[in-house]
Assembly symmetry: C2
Homo-oligomer: 270 residues x 2
Amino acid sequence: MKRIDRTGAMIKILTEHPSRLYPLSYFTELFGAAKSTISEDIAIARRILEQFDQGEIVTLAGAAGGVKYVPRVSQKALKGFQDEMCRRMSDKNRVLTGGFLFTSDLMFNPQVAKQAGRIFATKFLEAGADYVVTIETKGISLAVMTADALNLPLVVMRRESKISEGSTLSVNYISGFSDQIQKMSVSKKSLMPGTRAIIIDDFMRGGGSASGMVEMLGELDVSVVGIGVLIATTRPQIKRVSEYFPILYLDKSEELEKGIRILPNESLLT
Amino acid sequence: MKRIDRTGAMIKILTEHPSRLYPLSYFTELFGAAKSTISEDIAIARRILEQFDQGEIVTLAGAAGGVKYVPRVSQKALKGFQDEMCRRMSDKNRVLTGGFLFTSDLMFNPQVAKQAGRIFATKFLEAGADYVVTIETKGISLAVMTADALNLPLVVMRRESKISEGSTLSVNYISGFSDQIQKMSVSKKSLMPGTRAIIIDDFMRGGGSASGMVEMLGELDVSVVGIGVLIATTRPQIKRVSEYFPILYLDKSEELEKGIRILPNESLLT
């Protein structure tokens, strides 16, 4: 087998399973090649991805070592995504009665979700999370893509407890839209105590859902090591959670021509 | 730039955006190479993926032509996935009170969802769909991965109509779990009349949700060109929709040791 075949196949296999560590023996067996040959292949694959701003290939030495693809997003790629989202979300037709912004098409768009997921993964790469957690419904595609990028399981909290979830734990929280008390629940089987989680959601206004998820995770003895949202409103400035990372800000003001303005979070990855 | 760099980068770019057609000029510009050189690169990339059962690279000739990656799943890969799912789902601890099967961890597992999505995409590759449609909540990760594999937008029907959805259309349907009448709604903005959709869901018992989605899509003048579910029960044998494609069957019987049995759909891709 030629080097071009090995590096091409290696790039496909690694990038399809982001953050999954492959022992070098996986590739020595697959390609029937020596370890030194595979190490050279890896160096070439790394250089190719680097050259085209396509993320990183990382090698870990030692017995538990191996090679993995880290879908790290560059500042340049982040800015490109933010600019495109600002443009697409600023369409006047998106503003609904009551000043709400129609975003479902974007939140469920697979390519949007995939890139947002990689951005969250880049932000929380070093957080040592064991789970990605979200609450139904609009954040699920972002959360599953984040979980994919970090090679983590996804846990989805429900607004009602379902019979197909088995024993569940429930907490009450204050919904930002209605300012009413709502309930969220999660299967007890879903999360192991003593672990760490990242919370991902589509939208944050008051931070009520995020704060509810933090409380729920606390009840299950799971620490929250990061909160990422695609859009956070600029007001209220004080939210029910203290640290959160939006990709975009939504500024709502009657003084603005369209009533709203979408801005990038310029300090997200700095 | 060397051939090994071009084919490696090409594989990364194409496989990351499945089913998206790239004009040859995209690569001639990116690599600063002649069209004939790029055509040779494509042939090599195609051979590499073929060799490792990693999907297809397809070229379309003509002015509107180009090159795309089709994440076609082979019979062998399908069988591997089905066997693994049967094994993981047959765990006795998954059987809940009332005979329900706990599957949330698998449905939201990114790698499971990704492979299921590619299987549905392979099944419906020629269906000419414009949308992938699902209903919240447990089918969303499968549906977004199917949409990603087919390069289509995803539309998620809601169980309640939300203020952030704008004008919505609602239909009533009979829920299989409760045999009660429930309501689903979707934003009118989400789907264009005269188009075609694939329905993806996690589970089918009576076919009530699927039949509700078919009715809803009919109201919006959208034709259904395929229905895929990860699991369908063997009973009732007659469902509320006539044609549907499960990856797995769930057979429930008191005569079985565990009360349930998970079986592969052996004719799915034949």
